[in-house]
């Protein structure tokens, strides 16, 4: 897991508003399995984070269309959903914004930046107070 991801999650712990965070651990590399996902939760200690393990890449692929990923599996992506967004059918809803670390597979301006990700989340917090 990259340090930038840990930094993002650490910074989320400091956000003062009501924010739900889900980490979905997927099998991308050979060493990715459920015990590895359990270990990874130790590195994301924020109480805000709910952790899930999915045993196949098929679930990640259902997100491809939401973010415009033409092929492969959506992973190392960070989707932001504003209040009110509902997940109705089999396909996840399109996020209000997102960031990624998938290189040139997705727009470069969406490359993960912890500061920008916080900004995506913080203005809403002001509205919610």
């Amino acid at each position: 897991m990259q340090d930038s991801v840990l930094a993002v999650v650490d910074s989320l712990a400091a956000l003062p508003h009501d924010l739900a965070v889900y980490a979905v651990w997927e099998p991308i590399f050979r060493t990715d399995n459920e015990p590895a996902a359990r270990k990874a939760t130790i590195l994301l200690p924020s109480v805000r984070v709910k952790n899930y393990w999915v045993g196949s890449q098929d679930f990640g692929k259902t997100f491809n269309g939401c973010i415009g990923l033409a092929s492969g599996v959506a992973w190392d992506v960070y989707l932001v959903y504003l209040p009110g967004r509902v997940w109705d059918g089999a396909t996840p809803p399109v996020p209000d914004d997102f960031m990624h670390q998938l290189g040139d597979q997705l727009p470069v301006e969406k490359n993960l930046d912890g500061g920008k990700l916080r900004m995506m989340l913080e203005p809403v917090a002001e509205d919610q107070r």
Binding site: D18, W25, Y52, R85, L121
Partner: protein
Amino acid sequence: MKAIRWLLMGVLALAGCAKNPSPIGEWKGMAALPDQDSVTAIVDITKVGTRWAGQFDLPYHGLEDYPLEISVTGSQVHLYFAGPEAEFQGALSRDGRALSGTATLSDGMKVPLTFRRVGDAQLSEMFWKLERAADDSSLVVRLSPDGAELRAQFNADRDKTRLLMLLSPT
């Protein structure tokens, strides 16, 4: 009667010698790669319950405490190095002091490699914390193929801003 007892003790001692040596410990190996400096790998192997576990360092590449996938069958030891995606297949010597075999690099190149035992496994407190977590099924919710559990939570939190991260655990 005394002679039989001595004979039995001798047989048991021989059986003990024939037992496979254990790979548990710290190992150091140096691989000579074509057109590169030789690369040193430090491998720490232990057992957690019934499963093998360990870590490796590749100081030349700045890698420290990376996860190691280990399988052991008799004297045969297979290692998979996460990160560089390299493998090692080798055999323990009869005295348990050497582990000799072949490393296969991510590009398919094969190089001979011998690890020498240098002492007890040096595993950090964090390693043991992570290994305990690996056995704790309460830490993650196992999703159905359609993600129903996540969808239900997502909709239950509809009044909140939500951050959904799709990640690889390693």
